[in-house]
């Protein structure tokens, strides 16, 4: 509403701030989205470097390069960096960039909060990574921070806890912003059942964050007070129960898995219809399946701790609840396949990565179902089988989804087409190496190799060497992505507004790159301009 009397006729609507101020004080959803993505990429390489330290150490039995304490720090901080520093910020970055232009909004509902939620991240990771230089070393008790082990940490403990708090605050602010934006800022005609699937998956992810983050915040605060203020929440000697921590950690931790994976599902739900040149099969069932996955995720947490000792009834409940998640997940997998069925398919890089998600997330899903079976889990628990399982879910399942999204929207963001040959090279080198890296871990786990150990029995050597070669190859493959992005930002064939022939949705009605202020007036959405 214009209450001010305007005297100046020469308003520059596309006024862009310049210099470092543009980024430091940005309230523009695209700039903040870009910052999130760049931050995520940097953290991906930092976390990746830690993974390579692990793989180098495990190339052969015995201790080669690092001492066991540092090795454990590597596994712990690698997980924290990858989950909270790479995957979550990448998802939030994509949400920032795409949600407003997908729903026809000029920006996020709370632009200043958006700025804050980003700038908390570098601060939080500075806290976390500074622990490597502290007495007692960096956190080494696993990313799950189980007491009493984590309480034996040196000076790093409060830094770890405050870093987790800040990361939680950042995530919650992002979630609140997304909910407020989608609730209040949809363009006329953009009803809920016309929302692109990516937006749907993010609303549901935001609900998951809202429901699960206070549990993590409470859990780590109780660790802090147990360590420094004499409480005994998790101290058996004082009447507490360390197993209780595991319960609340996984009450947060399992929804966290879906917080990571649902946006990826949303991304490939945009991409598969585009390159199949068909509308998404079963849009409504996709929405309901996503909501069902999210809802069920709150009732399965104890499958992470079957071996801790719990009543048979509890084991049965959590086993069946875990199995039931495979149903809505299966709905999604089959809907993606049905979308491709008899489609006029082409295999550009985003589609290749999406198909990669479909195949390899399914591998991770199947091994997940295996471990959901309680008696079987007793065998697999804390072995390399679980490491193989969650890496199949996280890397070719989730990170591939993010790669797919980056390739899909990069021409829209930059106005230039990326180098398709290099994109495909990135896909194939990554796909071969990621399987060389993680598939042998199934064999190692089934053979009994425990996770989180720097040294191992010689019988595990061969597959560890194969995995390490895969690890280094996968790491090097990611340099191709960096080169593709830099090359695309610097120039290249100009992208059209629609970019992809089969793309539908409001984001493709804007120019490539979109103006600094997009949709300053809301577009009218119809079935024709809604999701694909």
């Amino acid at each position: 509403m214009s209450e001010a009397v305007i005297h100046d006729d020469h308003h520059d609507h596309d006024h862009k701030p310049t210099g470092i101020g543009r980024w430091l004080f940005s309230t523009n959803h695209k700039d903040i989205g870009t910052m999130y993505m760049v931050f995520a990429l940097i953290m991906f390489f930092i976390g990746g470097a830690m993974a390579l330290v692990i793989r180098a150490e495990l190339f052969q039995p015995g201790l080669q390069y690092v001492d066991p304490q540092f090795f454990n720090s590597m596994t712990t901080v690698h997980a924290l960096v990858m989950i909270f520093g790479a995957v979550m910020p990448a998802g939030v970055g994509l949400a920032n960039w795409m949600i407003p232009i997908m729903i026809g909004a000029p920006d996020m509902a709370m632009p200043r909060m958006n700025n804050m939620s980003f700038w908390i991240l570098p601060f939080a990771f500075t806290l976390l990574l500074s622990t490597f230089f502290m007495q007692g070393g960096a956190p080494a008790g696993g990313w799950t921070m189980y007491p009493p082990l984590v309480l034996q940490l040196g000076d790093a403990l409060p830094f770890l806890i405050f870093a987790v708090h800040f990361l939680g605050v950042s995530s919650i602010m992002g979630a609140i912003n997304i909910i407020a934006t989608v609730f209040n800022m949809r363009a006329p005609g953009m009803t809920f059942m016309r929302l692109p699937l990516f937006v749907w998956t993010w609303i549901i992810t935001a609900f998951l964050l809202i429901a699960s983050m206070p549990v993590l915040a409470g859990a780590v605060t109780m660790l802090l007070t147990d360590a420094y203020f004499g409480t005994s929440f998790f101290n058996a000697a004082g009447g507490g129960d360390p197993v209780l921590f595991q319960h609340i950690f996984w009450f947060f931790g399992h929804p966290e898995v879906y917080i990571l994976v649902l946006p990826s599902f949303g991304i490939i739900s945009q991409i598969i219809p585009t390159f199949s040149r068909k509308p998404l099969f079963g849009y409504a069932s996709m929405v309901y399946a996503t909501a069902a996955i999210a809802f069920l995720s709150f009732f399965v947490w104890a499958h992470h701790m079957f071996t801790v000792g719990m009543p048979l009834t509890g084991e049965l409940f959590f086993m069946y609840a875990t199995m039931s998640i495979a149903v809505p997940t299966g709905v999604k997998i089959f809907n993606w396949m049905a979308t491709m069925w008899r489609g006029s398919m082409t295999f550009e890089t985003p589609m290749l990565f999406s198909i990669g998600v479909l195949f390899m997330f399914s591998i991770g899903g199947f091994t997940g179902v295996m471990m959901g079976i309680t008696p079987v889990d007793f065998q697999y628990h804390d072995t390399y089988f679980i490491v193989a399982h969650f890496h199949y879910v996280l890397v070719p399942g989730i990170i591939y989804g993010i790669f797919a999204g980056v390739y899909y929207w990069l021409p829209k963001w930059t106005g230039n087409m990326y180098d398709e040959k290099l994109g495909k090279l990135h896909f194939w080198t990554s796909t071969i190496s990621v399987n060389v890296l993680f598939f042998p871990m199934h064999f190692l786990g089934l053979a009994g190799m425990p996770r989180r150990i720097p040294d191992y029995n010689v019988q595990f050597t061969d597959w560890n060497q194969v995995a390490s070669v895969g690890g280094f190859a996968f790491g090097l493959s990611q340099l191709i992505l960096v080169w593709v992005v830099i090359k695309c930002v610097r120039g290249g064939e100009k992208a059209t507004d629609q970019v992809w022939e089969g793309a539908h949705g409001l984001e493709w009605t804007l120019s490539s790159p979109p103006p600094f202020h997009s949709f300053t007036t809301p577009p009218q959405v119809t079935d024709a301009t809604a999701h694909s």
């Binding site: 509403m1 214009s2 209450e3 009397v5 305007i6 005297h7 006729d9 609507h13 596309d14 509902a109 709370m110 909060m113 919650i172 602010m173 609140i176 912003n177 909910i179 407020a180 934006t181 989608v182 609730f183 209040n184 800022m185 949809r186 363009a187 006329p188 953009m190 609900f207 809202i210 429901a211 983050m213 206070p214 549990v215 915040a217 409470g218 859990a219 605060t221 109780m222 007070t225 929440f233 507490g240 209780l244 609340i248 009450f251 120019s511 103006p515 300053t520 007036t521 809301p522 577009p523 009218q524």
Partner: protein
């Protein structure tokens, strides 16, 4: 969204202009209540298990979400009422009640539709008279703004 005011003794013609409220406030309250009940319910459940620190965090977070939804929804409650009353054109801006009132001489006021230099930018609709101008209908989409300009010209 534009609503035409009925002709009455008070005004010859008039329009009420409101931004697109993507979701009615009542629906937002309902959805918010569900989210809050779940989140606080989890906090209360853990509280009775002796894990007392989760509930305050849940409360803080639910409060922040409520505030964000309220302030965001308030933006959608803005309203511009344009009344054409005998020789005056009165523009009232506010939410439920008029907070600012601008008056123009009906015989002098011009309805100016400024076209943007590039299609990226929106057009701008102004009421202009005696060197002062007031932009109206910023939150309308292009079609609605063009329609309002025509209706205003006809009415004035």
């Amino acid at each position: 969204m534009i609503l035409a005011l009925e002709e009455s003794e008070e005004n010859d013609a008039g329009f009420v202009i409101m931004p697109n409220a993507a979701m009615p406030w009542r629906q937002q309250v309902l959805l918010y209540s569900i989210i809050a009940a779940f989140s606080l319910g989890v906090g209360v459940g853990f509280y009775f298990q002796g894990l007392t620190y989760i509930l305050p965090f849940a409360g803080l977070e639910v409060g922040a979400l409520g505030a964000a939804l309220y302030f965001s929804a308030r933006q959608g409650m803005k309203k511009e009422v344009i009344r054409i009353i005998k020789d005056k054109v009165r523009v009232e801006t506010g939410r439920k009640q008029a907070e600012n009132v601008h008056e123009f001489e009906r015989s002098w006021v011009q309805v100016v539709m400024k076209q943007p230099q590039h299609q990226w930018y929106p057009s701008r609709l102004m009421l202009r008279s005696h060197g002062k101008q007031l932009e109206i209908g910023q939150f309308l989409n292009e079609e609605e703004r063009k329609g309002l300009a025509i209706d205003l010209r006809n009415a004035i």
